[in-house]
């Protein structure tokens, strides 16, 4: 089929291009400029070449923060995705329970990130926090301020509490879009609960699950505010993720050059992962459409 192309439509994109240029491209260009120079303030810059990139790539501090970030993202994905599916499967499909559940699920998502951090910072305190105090009373030696393991548990549980709802809502949207005919056919075939999940619900949720994995991975990989408010990156450096380390370097130490180099490496990794996820998603859609046409 011949399509009619109208390239004048590109002019409609110009306002967006202008906004993106101001909010993203110009700052990114500036970061690239900073990454090859050194400065001591007063708007004076000295050429450093690839020195900061080399320093970053051979720095234990950078790779340690990267490792913590990957570990954190892996753990939260392993918890949030199955938990989100489980909750979505058990949510009511009709009646008054639907709006109630949806509102309850949406509540954590409406809370600003720094407030979530503050809530969990107070909640986990052993002297006045409900969680910390209760755990201490039942004999659990919990203190997220001094114990790295407790700090990790707190940050992970906080993220699960904050973001599982997103996975739930996406999965729920996928589940309610499945026509009843599928369930009726499964019932006629005498399919088990597991078979219905494995061969009907899971394939139908695939697309939203990919979006959920993409969003949660990106977001957890760029996490800053919540762990910063709760632990400040500590105890020691145990919860210092890339973004926290970056801010410490840029704002705390005023090492603009190394921080800019680190930003670019961080940005490239995010860009690569986004592209991989996007490619997988779009090709999965194309393959599904092809199967539908052929089938």
């Amino acid at each position: 089929m011949n399509k009619t192309w109208n390239n004048k439509a590109w002019f409609m994109v110009l306002p967006v291009l202008f906004l993106v240029a101001i909010s993203a491209i110009i700052p990114l260009m500036t970061v690239v400029n900073y990454s090859v120079q050194d400065t001591f303030g007063n708007n004076e810059f000295f050429w450093a070449g690839a020195e900061w990139f080399e320093e970053m790539l051979t720095s234990d501090r950078f790779w340690a923060a990267m490792g913590r970030n990957l570990l954190f993202s892996g753990i939260v994905l392993l918890i949030e995705i199955p938990l989100g599916i489980l909750i979505a499967l058990n949510m009511p499909k009709s009646g008054w329970g639907v709006p109630v559940c949806l509102v309850l699920m949406a509540l954590p998502l409406l809370i600003p990130w720094n407030v979530v951090g503050t809530i969990w910072q107070v909640f986990g305190r052993v002297d006045i926090g409900l969680l910390g105090y209760a755990l201490r009373e039942v004999g659990v030696d919990y203190n997220y301020v001094s114990d790295p393991f407790d700090a990790w548990v707190t940050v992970i549980v906080m993220d699960v509490w904050h973001w599982t709802s997103l996975v739930v809502l996406l999965c729920y949207a996928g589940l309610v879009s499945i026509p009843d005919a599928y369930y009726q056919a499964a019932k006629i075939d005498g399919a088990s609960r597991w078979a219905v999940f494995r061969y009907i619900q899971l394939p139908k949720m695939n697309r939203v699950l990919l979006i959920a994995v993409l969003l949660r991975f990106m977001d957890s990989f760029m996490i800053y505010t919540e762990p910063f408010v709760v632990t400040g990156g500590g105890p020691g450096n145990s919860t210092t993720f890339l973004s926290i380390d970056l801010v410490k370097m840029a704002v705390g130490q005023f090492d603009i050059g190394p921080a800019a180099a680190m930003s670019i490496i961080y940005f490239l990794i995010i860009l690569l992962l986004s592209w991989v996820f996007y490619t997988v998603m779009t090709n999965y859609d194309a393959a599904s459409d092809g199967e539908r046409r052929d089938g």
């Binding site: 110009i26 260009m29 400029n33 900073y34 810059f45 690839a50 080399e54 194309a286």
Partner: protein
């Protein structure tokens, strides 16, 4: 307009100028010889010319970083490798 806060240098200006030139060249190429429709290459998924440019640029960035981290600060060989890689991407991906 004072742009001194952007801390421009000649090498970074050349770098961004090259990227701009590549984008303009892609547009001219498509205008002169249309053919940017998706095709399936060695990666077994559809790519357009734009996709292949993106993959080339992103891959080149990682080639430079890997060279810097594993070999050393002389990046001319990394640049040469990136050009070979980009030609490979445009030819086979």
């Amino acid at each position: 307009m004072d742009l001194s806060w952007m801390a421009w240098t000649l090498p970074t200006a050349i770098f961004f100028g090259t990227i701009l030139l590549l984008l303009v060249s892609m547009a001219v190429w498509e205008y002169v010889s249309p053919g940017g429709n998706p095709r399936v290459g060695v990666l077994r998924f559809e790519t357009t010319r734009g996709d292949r440019l993106f993959v080339s640029l992103l891959g080149s960035a990682f080639i430079h970083l890997a060279w810097l981290g594993l070999v050393g600060p002389n990046l001319w060989w990394a640049l040469a490798l990136s050009v070979v890689y980009a030609i490979g991407v445009f030819r086979f991906v």
